[in-house]
């Protein structure tokens, strides 16, 4: 069964990396809907950098989920990251991401639920917008420490533009994560029956992981459809069997 239940647990950090040919949007949407449907006490803080709320609502509607009611009841908190970013040559900015961090912190403190998850989509955009890598690294450290303190789980998405050569932001992220879910395309190119593959790795500081790792050689394949995503082991897709 993929993705495994209970990933990530409170206090843990899940890093999802994807590539241009195999985007991981479906995993984020799946995590959001699964988490909100899980129990009435579940809360979610959605920090979106590149996508706006309309798209999240539209995709959730496909799974028969009305995000508006969750937003109204403050079970779901949406934070538009761009509006809290302090960049620009005329401002004396020491930490461009500090106000965003403070906004996330106040969203967490407001009505603490036992089962809170923070979804950050995505971290690579900060680097593309010009935030220095050191600042992003500090932000990530502070955010993961905050999640550990508030017992919330953290899901971060990072776009990989140079497959095979980890960039500086990814180096920092790999040290902080508990799990690393790696979404990558088929090496043989596009296919109608298989959209891509997913592998699962552990972070360096992970002790006694609750799930088994899935290296790339035995990665699980998935196919996207209108209703969602279907996972299957390689060689067992409907087009093959």
């Amino acid at each position: 069964m993929f993705p495994p239940n209970g990933l990530p647990l409170p206090g843990e950090v899940l890093l999802i990396t994807d590539e241009l040919l195999a985007p991981a949007d479906f995993l984020l949407h799946r995590h959001l809907t699964t988490h909100l449907k899980d129990s009435k006490d579940s809360r979610c803080v959605l920090v979106s950098v590149s996508e706006d709320l309309g798209r999240w609502k539209a995709v959730a509607q496909r799974s028969n989920m009305n995000l508006t009611q969750y937003l109204d009841s403050h079970t779901l908190v949406f934070i538009d990251a761009i509006s809290y970013l302090t960049l620009g040559p005329d401002e004396n900015t020491g930490t461009p991401l500090k106000s965003l961090f403070q906004q996330i912190r106040s969203a967490l403190c407001f009505g603490t639920g036992p089962n809170t998850t923070i979804l950050l989509d995505d971290i690579a955009s900060f680097e593309w917008m010009g935030v220095p890598v050191a600042d992003i690294a500090h932000f990530m450290r502070a955010l993961s420490a905050l999640c550990r303190k508030s017992d919330a789980s953290l899901v971060i998405r990072h776009h990989v533009t140079t497959p095979g050569e980890p960039d500086d932001v990814l180096r920092h992220l790999l040290q902080l994560c508990t799990y690393h879910m790696d979404v990558f395309p088929l090496s043989s190119g596009r296919s109608g029956s298989v959209s891509g593959q997913v592998a699962l790795h552990f972070g360096p500081a992970t002790t006694a992981p609750a799930h088994r790792s899935i290296p790339r050689s035995v990665a699980v394949q998935y196919r996207l459809s209108d209703a969602g995503s279907v996972f299957f082991d390689r060689g067992t897709g409907s087009g093959v069997l």
Partner: protein, 355 residues
């Protein structure tokens, strides 16, 4: 031969006051650091101070060890510059103060990420100065006191920490992905010792291991697994006057051992699952001489005994047996009948020569 890795983790020899653990993103050394922390916390009469700057304390000590009064954990993961609003002592002061005020006796100081320390102090020089001071304090405590540092390569601090000027004695553990050794065995035909000569192996291994992008490409590239397996190949370098039982000085000793959680920690390279294929490869057998053309024919080339007997009785036409032909009793002579044109004269023609 006792494992150098397990002795480096367990009982620091006298004068070995610096233990350096080097990870990379291709392979982490944190499980070994965890083992170091746990073994240090179990040793009686030794105090362990653990500074957590990047990784949470739960990665190193579980609940039972955390309550021990022999372990003091300083959790500075919240103290991120720019995001920490609490007004407390600076990082450097806090570290020095904690170490100086530790109870008397042997002391183990462990820092989980030296790169984070350098980045928080915002200066490599400051960081190196602080580490020198810590090493000095640890050395004055004497006995099995040790400063343990964890570095993530590539790091500009690494060359500074490995110099003899920083510390004459050093134990340096570097974690390598097993994929690197498999790659050397297939692409460079140099398997690890004892399958290949150590000098040949180290000559090939050291330059490649220092090129971190090669290891990263092996793990994260198209042929890689995307993440490091739990087992690792550990390069153990021991430098300095670590006297063994006979009191002999060792210069620099470098070995390659394995780390496998399944095998309970330090193990030999042959016990690593991912490298088992190197040891079970059968040697190529030599060809059994030229192939015999008389085997596997559809017709019979052999002779029956009757055929062999009649064959032996055939006289060979031109063979000389080595015996001269039969004697007729007549000695060999030339018989000549002169005809009318011959002028046979039995006199000696040179008789009337007068020289």
């Amino acid at each position: 031969m006792p494992s150098l890795l397990s002795s480096a983790i367990a009982h620091p020899a006298r004068n070995q006051h610096l233990l350096l653990l080097q990870s990379s993103i291709a392979q982490t050394c944190l499980p070994i650091l965890r083992e170091v922390v746990q073994q240090a916390s179990e040793r009686a009469r030794e105090m362990t101070v653990l500074f957590c700057l990047l990784y949470p304390p739960s990665s190193f000590v579980d609940g039972s060890h955390a309550d021990s009064n022999r372990v003091q954990i300083v959790d500075r993961t919240y103290g991120v510059p720019g995001y920490d609003d609490s007004a407390g002592p600076s990082l450097k002061d806090e570290i020095l103060e904690t170490v100086r005020s530790a109870p008397a006796g042997p002391l183990n100081v462990i820092i989980d990420s030296v790169d984070t320390l350098a980045s928080d102090l915002d200066s490599h020089a400051e960081c190196t100065r602080l580490l020198s001071e810590l090493l000095f304090i640890v050395r004055t405590r004497g006995g099995p006191s040790r400063l343990t540092l964890h570095v993530l390569a590539p790091s500009p601090l690494l060359p500074l920490l490995t110099q003899t000027r920083f510390s004459p004695t050093l134990t340096h553990l570097t974690a390598h992905p097993p994929a690197l050794l498999a790659h050397l065995a297939t692409a460079y035909l140099t398997p690890p010792p004892p399958l290949a000569a150590p000098e040949k192996f180290w000559g090939v291994f050291i330059p490649i291991a220092e090129r971190h992008y090669e290891c990263e490409r092996l793990v994260f590239g198209p042929a890689g697994e995307g993440g490091a397996p739990p087992e690792a190949a550990v390069e153990v370098l021991v430098r300095g006057a670590a006297a063994d039982g006979a009191g002999r000085r060792r210069g620099v000793e470098r070995v390659l051992e394995g780390w496998s959680p399944a095998a309970g920690g330090p193990c030999e390279l042959r016990e690593l699952e991912s490298l088992k294929a190197l040891w079970t490869k059968k040697p190529i057998s030599e060809a059994q001489g030229a192939p015999d053309p008389t085997q596997n024919l559809p017709f019979n080339l052999n002779l029956t005994p009757e055929q062999q007997r009649s064959r032996a009785q055939v006289p060979l036409p031109y063979a000389h047996n080595g015996k001269p032909a039969e004697q007729n009793g007549v000695p060999a002579a030339i018989l000549y009948d002169p005809d009318s044109a011959d002028d046979l004269d039995d006199d000696d023609p040179d008789e009337d020569l007068d020289i």
